[in-house]
Structure formats: C-alpha cells, structure tokens
Symmetry: C2
C-alpha cells in the first residue's frame, strides 16, 4: 500500500474510538468504507466521523463486518417489521460484497423514515447498509433490468470499485501543473460530444457521444484515436446526460480497453443504457453495425458510479467532480471539476436550459469557483417562441382539431420534450382548457416516461412536490392511455391526442399513425422538436403534398398529406440565445475563459460576436474574459 | 518484410538490368541502398536509376557488394594515384558496414573532379563509395572528434540506419487525416524551442532547446513530459540550427528512451555537439548538472543524419523534410514538411535573417507549397540599425580608439556574429578604412571559426566564392592572430582589436581582458549582441562605474569602469520587424495559417497587431490568412 493511502487509513483508524473494532478499511470507488464489528458505538459519534471526513476531504461510509451481519431471511423479516405496510416493499436484494441491502418500495420515503430514523434502525438491527429505491408506479423494464444486472454481478463490482479506489487515491507525482482541454467532438458542430481534460496527474473525458445525424464513417464518432488519449491511462468518464450525442460511444471505450469508472446521475445511467441498446438494435436491423455490442453496454453499467447533484466526489488524485442541475432532460447535469488544490475550476455545461420548464428546474448558474467555462451554443444564433405562447399554440391546435372531429398526432423524441408535453396537456385538461379526450402514449418514449416515474426527486420542484407530497402523479393520470405500438382502432376512432415516437417520423408507431391520419384534413400534426434533413418529418414540414412510404406488406405506397401541420419551437430543452446570455449574466463567479462548443459554426460565430462586443461584455460582467471557439483536435492550456 | 517495402524492393529489382547482379537492397535511413556485384554495368544507366527513384519517390544509392571491394591498402593506393597531389589528402577512413570510404582533403574539389569524374573513377576501381570531406585550414577539434566518433561506430550506425529505414518506410495505416501542431516551448517567449507535429501516422519534433537565460527549474526545458509525447513513438527530431535554445535538450531525449534519428545540416551537427559539451562542462562546474551527460551527446551524434539544403528526404511514412537556408548562423535551416500526399505543407522558419549579411545569404522565401507557416518573431516589435550604418559605427569606434592609443574589446557569442565581425574587420583593413593592427581571436568562438572553415559551401555566395574560387580565405587572413585564452602581454601591449567569448562577459577570456582594459578610458568595449539581465555585460552597458569581480586568486576585487562602451545592434542574426514583414511580402506561395513563435509576448502582440491590420494584410498578400499566437501546451489542428 502506498504511503499516501496509509496516511488516509491511519487518520481514520486513529480518529475512531477503539471500541468500534475496525476490521477493514477499503477504498470503494470514491468512497472509503470502514468495516466495524461494533457499529452501535458510532451511533452518537457521527460528528467525529464527519470531522475526520472533512479533515482528510474524503467520503467515509461506516459498514458492518460481515461476521456480525444477520442472515438474509432474518434481515428481510426485520425490514418488513420496521417499515409501515403503506411503504409497499416490492423487492429486497443483498450485496454480500459491499454489505448492502437494496430495498425497493412504492413509497421509499416511508422506508427511510423521518430524519432517516427507520433506515438507521434497519442498519443497527441487521448490520446491512440499506439502499432504498423507488418502485415506479409505471413499471420500467429498464430500471429493473439495470438493477438486476448490477446485483447479479456484485462480486465483479466490488472488485472494480477497489481498483477505482486505489487509482483515485494514488499519490500526486508531478510537481509541474497544467490543465489542458482538447476538443474531440461537438466543436464547431452539434453531435459526438467529447472533451478531454488533462493534468500532469490525470485524464478525464467529458461525454463521449455519437453524431446521430450521420449514419456511419469518420464524422460519426469523436476523435478517440489520437496519441494523446490512451484508454489505459484514462481516469474517468464523466457523462452529463443520456442523449446519444453525449453517451453513444462510451461502450466503445470498454471494447477497446478502458477499465475505469463512468460518473453519471441515476436517471442518466438508466436512460443511457436504454438509448444505447435501442441504437444497437436499429443499427443492426439497418445493416450498419456499431463498433460495439450489448456486451459492452452491460460492462459500462457495472462500471458506472452514480452521483447526486451537488455531491462532491474525488474522481482522480487531483480532480473533484460535482454535478449541478442542467435543466435539459431528467438527470442532466453540468459538471464542475475542481482541479489541484484550487489550481483551476472548470464548468462544462453539457446541454442546458436556463429557464424553468414544467418538467425541470432552471439550470444552476452559481458555483463555488469557476475559471474556465465550456458552454453549449446550440441556439447561439436564435431565439425561441416563449413558453406561454407555445403552450397557447398547442392548446389552440388541439381545440381546433377536436372541434372539427379530427385527431392530433404529436411525434416526440424518445428522450426529450414528450414528458413536458404530457405535463402541458395534463394541466390544460385539468383546467378545462381542452376537453378530456383520450391521450394515447406509445413507443420508446413511454418507457422513458416510466423511468421518469422512478426518479421523481430529479424533476422540477412543482411536479416533484406534486408527486412526493400531494400524491398526484401527472404521468399516471387517467387522461393518459398507454398502448403497445400502433393501433388501427385508435387511428380510425374518435377524436384523440396521440403522443408517439419517433420524433422525426423516421420509424416507430408515430409513422404508422401518420400514414392513417395524413390524408384527412380534419387531423393535425404538431412538431415539437427539430426535424433533421432527410427525415419524413422534415419532408412534411417542408410542405410535401404526397409522400412515398413502405407499407406493412413491404410495398411502396403513396400517401396524400392533407392534415394540418404546425411547428412549435418553444418547448426546446436547450437555452435559446437570450437564455444563454442570461446564464452568463447571472453566473457567479465569472469565468476567465469561455469556450464555446455544441453549436454549428454559424451559431458559434454569431454568439462569439455578441460576446466580443464591449458593451455586451460590460453588461454580462465578462469584460476581461477570453472567448475561445476551438475546432476539433485543438488543445487549449487553461492553467 | 511488409508488403509495402516488398513493393519498393521489387520495383528496384525488376527495374535494374539483371547483369548488375543485385545481392542486397537495404533501407539505410532515408536512402535505399542497392548492393550489386557488377556496378560497372550501371555506369551508363544512371537515367534508369533516376527514373525508378522518381517513380517510387525514394532516394536510391548504388553500392558494391562487399565481396568485390578491393582491400583497404590497395584502395588507398588507387585513391592516391587517381587524385592530384594538390588535393592534399590528409586522411582515409573505411566504413565496412556501409561500403563507404571517407576521404579528407584540403581541396576536396580536386578529389571530386570535374563533373564528379574522379569520384566516380574511385568507385569503379575500388568498389568503395567515396565520401569526400574538407580538411579545414584551421584545425577543428570538433569536426575531427565527430568524424572519429562516427567512424569508430560504423557497425552501430549501420544497424540503426536500417531500423530508421524500416520505420520510415512502414505502411500507412490510418485513413483519417489530420495535422496537429503543439507548442512545447518558445511560444510567447524566447528560449527552449520545441514544436510537436502530429499526424495519424507519425510524430516529429521541430527543435528541442533549453532556455539559456534560466539556469534551472521547470522553465529551463520545453514541455516534454506530457501524455501526447511518447519517446518510443517519436519518428524524428528535426533541428534547424545549433544554438542551444534549439538543440540543448536533444540528448535528454536519448537519455529517456528515444532511439530515432536527428536530422540536421553538417555544420549544425558539429556545432551542436560543441555547444552541448560546453554547456555540460559549465553546468557541472557551476554545480547545477543537466539532466543528461556526454554519453547522450555521443549517442545523438551517431543518430544524426545530415542533409543538404533543398534535398528532399522521407523522414516518416507520410512526411518529407526539406531544409532551406535560413541566413541566421552557418548551417541554419528552415524546415519544410510535406505531409501526406499533399494533405498539408508546413514551413517552420526556426531563427532566420531575411537580409544578406557578409557571412550568409538571405533566407529563402520561396517554397514549392505552403499551408502553414510557423515563424520566429524575436524582433516583432523592433527595428535594427541598418548594416552599412552599423559597420560605419564599428569602424569609427576602432579608429577613434586606435588614434588615442587604446585597445578595442569585442565580446562575441560562441556561435553568433563573431565571424561576421571578422569579415567586416578583414574588409575594412583590406580597404584601408582602419589601420592594420593585430586582431586577436580567442575562446570557444575561435573553435567555431575553425568549423566555418571546414564548411565554406555553407557560407554566403561572396565569401564562399572568395574561399573556393579565389583561394582567399578571410578567416585565415594574416590580420587575425589566434591565441589560447587570455594573454597579459596583449592586454598591456600596443593598440589592438580583441574578439573573445563570452559575448555577455559572463565567463571566458573576454572577462579577463575586460578586467585589464576597463579602468583605462583610452580603451573601448563594443557590444554586438544582446546583453541579458544579470550578466556583467548588461551591468556595464547600463552604465555601472564600478564593478565587483572574482579575481584570479579567488578574492573579490573592485574594478573601475572607465573605458568607452558602444552598443551596435545592426549585426543581429535575426530579422528585425521590417525584415519579418518583407519576408511575408516576398513569400511564395502565401500560407493559410501563420503561427507566431520565438518572441516575447510583447513582441508577438505587436507583430500580430500589424498582421491583423487590413491594409497591411492586403499589402503583404495575406488577406485571408489566419494569424495564431499560441501559448505553451496549446495544440492547433492545421489540417
Ligand atoms: Zn502512438
Ligand atoms: Zn442533449
Ligand atoms: Zn447534445
Ligand atoms: Zn538561433
Ligand atoms: Zn533561437
């Protein structure tokens, strides 16, 4: 064991009372687990432990030595008798390696108890450390699958956590200090996000995405094959959110030798796996296989360490990571890296929305310290219709369509603004702004809705409070009828609203519904997201009056497009130009370097121009900030 | 053997007449050596060979199979009888491995013969390939030492040349193409020059210097300890000239695992070794050892491949190097890299003088192709006194001093403008502009003068013609009296001119002379080079009237400074601002990217400003060129 780790261990060993009887101290990923034979002695010593943790700046977790843990059957009984029936426990799983017991319940709050008292009681009586998870009201194959997979591999996971732990807590060797940022993808473009952060000690990748608008070839993937990036030397992958343009190439790293951790929020981990497996599926069907398989997705899941917002975590000997809400999709985060002993502080926004939506709170703009900001600039050149106006547009279209006896089809992206639209519709129906007709939800998007119901803590304050404290879950509202794929009876039936994937009409039940609904001018189609070049959605949007599609029987049919179609741009999960500027204006403290990424060249150019304007610089408080707009494979030394 | 090399070999094998009887084809560094048993058959087939070489774009050298080579004694006799006596052959050395015979002569032109006829005769009669070298009129320990060392290690050298050759002629693997430049040293500063050029195939370092104005610590060396630079993956080091701020850290690479070639001109190779060994010496004496030793300098010499100006050479599978005259010091070169099949062309100027001097021709400004230019900017903010005026100043000081019975001390850098000053004085004496008093030359600078006399072909047209065609060598002129170190009789003697190192009065015989000459106001001191902060030269220049020095006996003595001192700035080997601009104006073709280096931040800023001025851009013809001023550790993708 290195001197450095010995120092940490002896601080803990000498700091805790002898009577606790420490048997092991393990580096489990970013946490330090202290296994004791007499945990009850520590019951009123939490401040001592907190003080040690503060002093050595590490996360300490007290666990019970395996010899004193109750057997599994007895433990289950103690849990059931300690927790009120209304909690509705649905599953209990054990992790022998880490001494943890997973408790799944419909009402996890009741398992935790007021001020955590029941959770603590379970630990003290069973000596298993309870991990409490919500059983979502809408069953999610994904959430379940991920957990089952992880709990099937507890031995492997315990082993790699120790490897991560030793790597994170290694000695700092180099005296020379620098921080370099290298653009690997999503610079002067949107898609295939990837940024390499290098210090003399460590290397971290921020996002590793694909370019979903390119089906194959060099431009689909970030530049991962340069000398500078050796997978065996990589310390961590930090994933800001589940969209494939940020996550789609992570499994590739595992295929080519990466053995380290992926840091993400819990919702991001689950949705990421769902999206990757879906992309693998489609790619295979369409005969353009990806450079990895489901095997690597499974490995990636075992290597993922989930973090909450604002939880400070060591991810390398000289780097601390903290996630902050980004307001873009559920679980989306901005990554704050604290590098060295204050050498440098970096914020990478990932995709963010600097405005409150029905689904999520506004992104955070205040940080403990910031020297360099890497910010997305998707809408650096454009404004969006405001939200109130957009909601009004949507309600108008729905009312007009229903009044003339038509149906409203709203194609939604699998992970995007579909849930936001559900909240708008739910609210409008409750407030009688639209009639209570059936709202059908179908496709991959519906599975993502299920994942939302597993993680209400990650939603915006209003909807979170409604679910957790008023027991009103808009996603399980009676207005919504969940269906499997396409249904002809619905397509031919009474007026209704249909929310279906895919969002650009290039697959999924949305296309099937479209084929039925397109010829009738009574029907409406509402586009709530961007329609990429080459998609059916784009053709319709651009005014095509007749369209060729492949029918169920494999033959090409011609379809007349007579329905009304309306694009509404105010539901975007990205900040528009005004919101990007407001973010900079509100930001505390102001960054010395502002690096623009995740935007087309034209958007970056337009936005840089604004940021170079002296009057605007004064207004935003960034008079002395440097503005950079790197290209792929540029490196910038920021410290 | 790889498919790729097999292809090259079979082109040669099938292209040459069978009767030549090829026995081996070897990749010897950048050359392909064809060993044959019947070389005479190829005598009138030189055009066939040239055609093959052109077709496969490789350098082909015909050598004789070792079985047919005459024995060494007989060969020496044949050489002596073929070469006229006036050639004055002084040494003959054999390289059994490469089948070469080194012939050293006072008049190498007479060994070569008209249109190379004697050289060819020697080959055809002895089957040894003659390499003809000048025996300098002033004996140089350095030139001799380097050759002896290389010819002592012919076996090792033949071995590594084969390794280089196979590495250079490896297959191109990556389809993706890019060219990246990374700033490792001498960006926003002067000193520790180093640039990394990366393609998917290969990595090349341009210069690897020290910062001579820093004695130790991080800022003394370029950033060689980054992930991006793995010495075992490095293909080549390209050295533009011998100054330590460009060459001083090359031996360090060999200490830490580099096994590849160093490309340099012949004068650069010899002076580089001299400078490095001298620096090692001084560093050791002053108790701040360098991170390498003389052992690595010797290894570096064996790994050095010398190139002529405008000789196109493969140095990596996708990179061709061509050196062009830089006009800065003897052998100084600009490096032109032709990357890929025309993917990108890069010119790195190193230090350059865009003006003719007495010693050297003006730097080249026309290249076959240029996309990116990396140019030095030392005097980006400053003009210099013009040459005629500077020469006049020097002559005036000398005359004034002699008239009043004083002596003129001119401290000169070991490698710099000392030889230029010699040419000025020689000319002035010949033209009776100054009286024919003795001119004493002493110190390391005199050894460098000796090296100049070994390489007259590398000097400017006028002095070259004078030496080679008119047999007038200014360096061996009777005006100059070469002495060892300091001599008290000279210091106390009649009026004279003394040229001595070091150039900043921080060591060497110059300081000893200074101590004697300083108190007498009849004497003069002329500064012809920059005086760095902290040196004795700087103190004197800044007007100090009394100075503390350590005397011969080790005690501190106080010296009154009464002599006249005059700085003359027009002899610089660097382009001043006007010349830098003229270079860009004359440059053909114009580069798309201009990267500024080798200049203090203030100089770079001032020069960038000029280059950003729309009117100036039009005048220089660089209206659409990008101007970059990177900092150390920035990378720029240029293609
Ligand atoms: Zn490599
Ligand atoms: Zn996104
Ligand atoms: Zn994105
Ligand atoms: Zn130089
Ligand atoms: Zn230099």
């Amino acid at each position: 064991m290195s001197n450095f780790r010995l120092g940490i261990i002896s601080s803990i060993y000498n700091g805790l009372p002898k009577e606790a009887q420490i048997t092991r101290i393990e580096f489990e990923g970013p946490e330090i687990a202290v296994y004791v034979k007499n945990p009850s002695i520590l019951n009123d010593k939490m401040d001592v432990i907190r003080n040690i943790a503060k002093q050595i700046k590490k996360r300490i977790v007290i666990k019970a030595d395996s010899s004193i843990r109750k057997d599994q059957k007895e433990t289950v009984e103690i849990i059931k008798s300690s927790v009120p029936q209304e909690a509705q426990i649905s599953d209990v799983k054990f992790d022998e390696e880490l001494g943890e017991v997973l408790i799944k319940a419909k009402k996890p709050g009741l398992v935790i108890g007021k001020r955590g008292l029941i959770q603590q009681k379970i630990f003290m009586e069973t000596y298993w450390r309870p991990i409490i998870i919500r059983e979502p009201p809408i069953k999610s194959r994904t959430v379940e699958g991920v957990l089952t997979h992880i709990y099937n591999e507890t031995e492997y996971r315990a082993k790699i956590l120790k490897v991560f732990g030793e790597r994170i807590h290694r000695e700092i060797i180099f005296k020379d200090r620098y921080v370099r940022i290298t653009a690997l993808g999503a610079f002067q473009e949107v898609g295939r996000s990837a940024v390499l952060v290098e210090t003399p000690e460590s290397r971290v990748l921020l996002d590793v995405g694909v370019n979903p608008s390119v089906n194959s070839g060099e431009r689909m993937f970030p530049k991962l094959d340069i000398d500078q990036l050796r997978l065996e030397d990589l310390d961590a992958v930090v994933l800001t959110h589940a969209h494939l343009d940020h996550s789609g190439m992570i499994p590739f790293l595992f295929k080519y030798g990466y053995e380290g951790p992926v840091y993400a929020t819990q919702p991001t981990r689950d949705i990421m796996a769902l999206m990757q497996l879906d992309m693998l599926d489609i790619s295979e069907k369409e005969g353009r296989p990806l450079p990895y398989s489901a095997k690597e997705v499974r490995k990636e899941l075992l290597h993922t360490i989930t973090l909450d917002y604002e939880e400070v975590t060591d991810i390398a000997p000289d780097i601390r990571l903290t996630f902050y809400n980004a307001g873009h999709i559920i679980g989306s985060a901005m990554a704050h890296l604290h590098i060295g002993d204050g050498t440098h502080n970096l914020v990478y926004t990932g995709d963010f929305k600097y405005a409150r939506t029905r689904l999520l709170d506004r992104a955070v703009a205040e940080f403990p310290r910031v020297d360099t900001l890497i910010m997305e600039t998707t809408y650096g050149a454009q404004g969006q219709t405001n939200r109130e106006e957009s909601e009004k547009q949507l309600i108008d279209v729905i009312n007009k369509t229903i009044n003339r006896g038509g149906k409203v089809l709203i194609p939604v992206l699998a992970v995007g603004r579909g849930q936001e639209i559900m909240l708008v519709i739910n609210d409008a129906m409750k407030r009688k702004l639209i009639p209570e007709i059936p709202v059908y939800v179908t496709g991959l998007f519906d599975e993502v809705t299920a994942i939302h119901t597993a993680y209400p803590e990650w939603l915006g304050k209003e909807v979170r409070d409604s679910i957790l404290f008023r027991d009103e879950n808009p996603f399980t509202s009676d207005y919504f009828k969940r269906i499997e794929g396409f249904r002809e009876d619905i397509a031919q039936g009474e007026p209704s609203i249909i929310l279906a994937t895919s969002g650009m009409l290039n697959g999924g039940p949305a296309v099937e519904f479209f084929k039925y609904l397109a010829p009738d001018p009574k029907n409406s189609l509402v586009f709530v997201s961007y329609q990429a070049e080459g998609t059916l959605g784009r053709k319709v949007r651009d005014g095509a009056k007749e369209i060729q599609v492949v029918g169920r029987d494999g033959r090409v049919e011609s379809i007349k497009v007579n329905l009304e179609h309306t694009p509404i741009d105010g539901f975007s999960g990205h900040s528009d130009r005004r919101q990007l500027l407001k973010f900079l204006e509100d930001m505390v403290p102001k960054p010395r370097n502002i690096i623009l990424n995740h935007g087309e060249s034209s958007a970056i150019r337009a936005f840089s121009k604004v940021l170079e304007n002296p009057r605007e610089r004064d207004r935003l408080g960034i008079r002395s900030s440097n503005i950079y707009a790197p290209s792929i494979l540029d490196s910038l030394r920021v410290a």
